[in-house]
């Protein structure tokens, strides 16, 4: 399947001759429990980031903050099929992906608040969430910079003859970086166990992909002979099914894979950027929210399949809102890092020679 490029028109999940909800679950081999779990997860991400947006608005969170709202299926659908010993590495729009891989939402929120109980003790912030113990490898701010890291993580898997895989996310704009080109070639020549995923939300900040790219995203692995597929990234069931299958292909020694995961950003590029404007119309955004919200789509399927009703939905929603409240309270209560932390973690290792700043401080 992944051997051949298959293009999907966006929204075809709801296209003509629409299959029933039950049929969709069936088709993607997703059982009821899992389906409900995916809904629960995506709701959690949505509520978490809505809460973060409010916290940002009142200054509890600072700096650049990029939310994933609208793209939640790219976290739940692409990461939930993975094993604990699989790796994930991504860019700066990663709150939800960290949570999906197992980082405690409390630790993520505390990091956004810049507190010591944050995943990086408040030193990393929104763009640099890490979870070493659950193999969530960050959280990187240089566009394309994480792609060679993904190749390196895959290199380690192959080197140690493990049967895990790494999923390396990037945005559509990242494929025009040299780092992407070099890493893809390395992954191909060494047949590394990596799934390179472009979260193709069509825009890099205010620039539409087509304006700055000679070909479609899905064509970008041709030069490396890496099998590519396009996936409807708003359909969490399809996304889940595809990644479940891809992970097994790669685990089995199938070499790297390339995924054009078609999605859409419902918010501005970051908290400080407009949702729409010169680069995309308010109508376009509304239409996409209307017809392409991954949570609404799954809800519809579950209602249709009779697995869930409004009450059940509200129950789940209440539950995740509770978790988000908890995370926010936890973050609020967590202490700010003390001044001594400024100079901690610069070096992993004690220096035999003296650090320069020791002297500088001593002098003050």
């Amino acid at each position: 399947m992944a051997e051949t490029k298959t293009r999907k028109k966006k929204g075809n999940a709801k296209g003509g001759g629409k299959p029933s909800g039950a049929a969709l679950l069936e088709q993607h081999g997703v059982d009821e429990a899992l389906a409900l779990d995916l809904l629960r997860e995506m709701l959690l991400y949505r509520r978490f980031e809505e809460n973060a947006e409010e916290a940002y608005a009142i200054g509890k969170i600072g700096g650049f903050c990029h939310v994933h709202i609208g793209q939640e299926a790219a976290a739940a659908g692409a990461i939930k099929p993975l094993r604990d010993d699989d790796y994930v590495v991504t860019a700066y729009r990663e709150h939800t992906q960290a949570i999906a891989k197992g980082v405690d939402p409390k630790a993520v929120m505390a990091e956004l608040y810049g507190r010591t109980d944050g995943s990086s003790r408040g030193k990393g912030g929104s763009m640099h969430i890490y979870g070493a113990e659950c193999r969530f490898m960050g959280g990187h701010g240089i566009v394309g910079g994480q792609v060679p890291l993904g190749a390196g993580i895959a290199w380690k898997i192959r080197y140690k003859e493990e049967d895990s895989v790494v999923v390396c996310f990037m945005g559509d704009a990242a494929v025009n970086q040299g780092a992407f080109h070099e890493a893809m070639n390395l992954a191909a020549i060494w047949s590394l166990p990596a799934i390179f995923v472009v979260e193709n939300n069509e825009y890099g900040m205010g620039t539409h992909f087509k304006r700055v790219s000679a070909t479609e995203v899905v064509d970008r692995s041709a030069s490396y002979d890496i099998p590519a597929i396009s996936v409807n990234g708003q359909d969490v069931l399809e996304t889940y099914a595809r990644f479940r299958d891809l992970a097994e292909e790669v685990r089995g020694g199938g070499g790297p894979r390339f995924v054009d995961l078609q999605t859409y950003r419902f918010r501005g590029h970051s908290m400080s950027d407009p949702v729409s404007g010169t680069y995309r119309s308010a109508e376009e955004v509304e239409e996409r929210k209307e017809n392409g919200d991954p949570i609404t789509l799954l809800r519809g399927t579950l209602f249709d399949a009779g697995i869930l009703d409004q009450d059940g939905l509200e129950e789940i929603d209440g539950e995740v809102r509770g978790l988000v409240e908890e995370a926010a309270d936890f973050a609020d209560a967590s202490p700010k890092p003390g001044p001594e932390e400024l100079y901690e973690h610069v070096w992993a290792q004690e220096n035999h020679g003296r650090l320069f700043f020791d002297r500088r401080e001593q002098a003050r």
Binding site: K123, G125, G141, Q177, T207, P339, F356, F357
Partner: protein
């Protein structure tokens, strides 16, 4: 004198120069339709069209190199880096390409190109987005480095940089864009590169600085004044080439100096200035030269830690008191 923001001053400089010379074009990420990530290029697409104001893909190495090639062929590119943090990806084209071309070709290829964008920390942008990158460009010969701290300097120096036949790393400050200041009205206001500006006069101690830190220095000077200490505040404005005379003059006058810089201390521009002074004005020094800089750590995200890491007026006052042995 018109009062305008640093952002507007840069925008005027770009518009005036592009108006003057059709060979100048502007290229970078989000510079056209989005009018710049920080809106410095507002309106330029409308005025000059998409032939001269060009949105690039996220390909720093590629479009920086495209600029170098275009400059070799006779155009005068202005390449915007959304921030200089991302220019590490392009530095090979700046150092190995632009900065050496004139020398390697023995004068056949001047390099009239400007690489511009914000440098240094803004607010809580964390380690990968909060770097003062000046020293990466001053170290190698061939590239000029310009760091305006006020609206007037921003306009006059950008116009000079665009007219210069050498590559210029023109480093702005994200936190300066909204800063208002007076800018001379004359319709061709150009400030020559390599001329420092005494932003404040005093005879007790010299505070030498560049870029955004000129404001921290002036704040410190105001505090010192209350203590009866008068500081010279020398804004280098261009840190490559250097206005050596201005530096030696203020030191000869006060015999004590503090360098304030936003970047890291280790082998930074401040180290260069300090070394220059002690090599060439050793006998004028009554006290060691001190530096105030970013703490020698990657920039942390947490606001309280970030504030500790950044150079502050208090720390400058402190350093001045120390060189005054008070």
């Amino acid at each position: 004198m018109a009062v305008m923001t640093y952002r507007e001053a840069l925008n005027e400089a770009l518009a005036e120069e592009m108006e003057r010379d059709p060979d100048i074009f502007l290229m970078g990420e989000e510079v056209a339709e989005y009018e710049g990530a920080y809106k410095v290029t507002k309106g330029l697409l409308d005025t000059f069209g998409d032939r001269r104001v060009v949105d690039s893909p996220i390909s720093e190495l590629g479009f920086a190199g495209l600029g170098v090639g275009a400059a070799m062929a006779g155009l005068r590119p202005v390449i915007e880096f959304m921030t200089f943090n991302f220019a590490f990806l392009a530095i090979d084209q700046v150092i190995n390409g632009a900065s050496k071309m004139h020398y390697m070709s023995a004068g056949q290829f001047p390099m009239p190109i400007v690489f511009r964008g914000p440098t240094g920390a803004a607010l809580q942008l964390s380690a990968q987005h909060s770097q003062a990158c000046e020293t990466y460009y001053t170290h190698a010969p061939g590239c000029k480095v310009v760091t305006p701290g006020t609206a007037a300097d921003a306009k006059g120096l950008l116009k000079a940089s665009i007219r210069d036949d050498d590559p210029v790393a023109f480093m702005e400050g994200e936190l300066l864009y909204n800063l208002k200041g007076e800018v001379p009205d004359d319709d061709d206001f150009v400030i020559p590169l390599g001329v420092a500006d005494l932003k404040r006069e005093g005879s007790d101690v010299s505070i030498i600085t560049h870029g955004k830190m000129v404001h921290v220095a002036l704040q410190a000077a105001a505090t010192l004044e209350k203590d009866g200490i008068e500081a010279d505040v020398l804004d280098l404005r261009t840190i490559r080439p250097l206005d050596v005379d201005a530096i030696l003059d203020t030191v000869a006058k006060t015999n004590r100096a503090v360098y304030v810089e936003e970047g890291w201390p280790y082998a930074g521009t401040g180290a260069q200035i300090t070394t220059l002074i002690q090599e060439e004005a050793f006998d004028h020094l009554d006290a060691p030269l001190l530096r105030v800089s970013q703490a020698d750590v990657p920039m942390p995200y947490a606001k309280n830690l970030e504030n500790l890491a950044k150079p502050s007026a208090d720390r400058v006052v402190d350093a001045c008191n120390r060189v005054l042995y008070r």
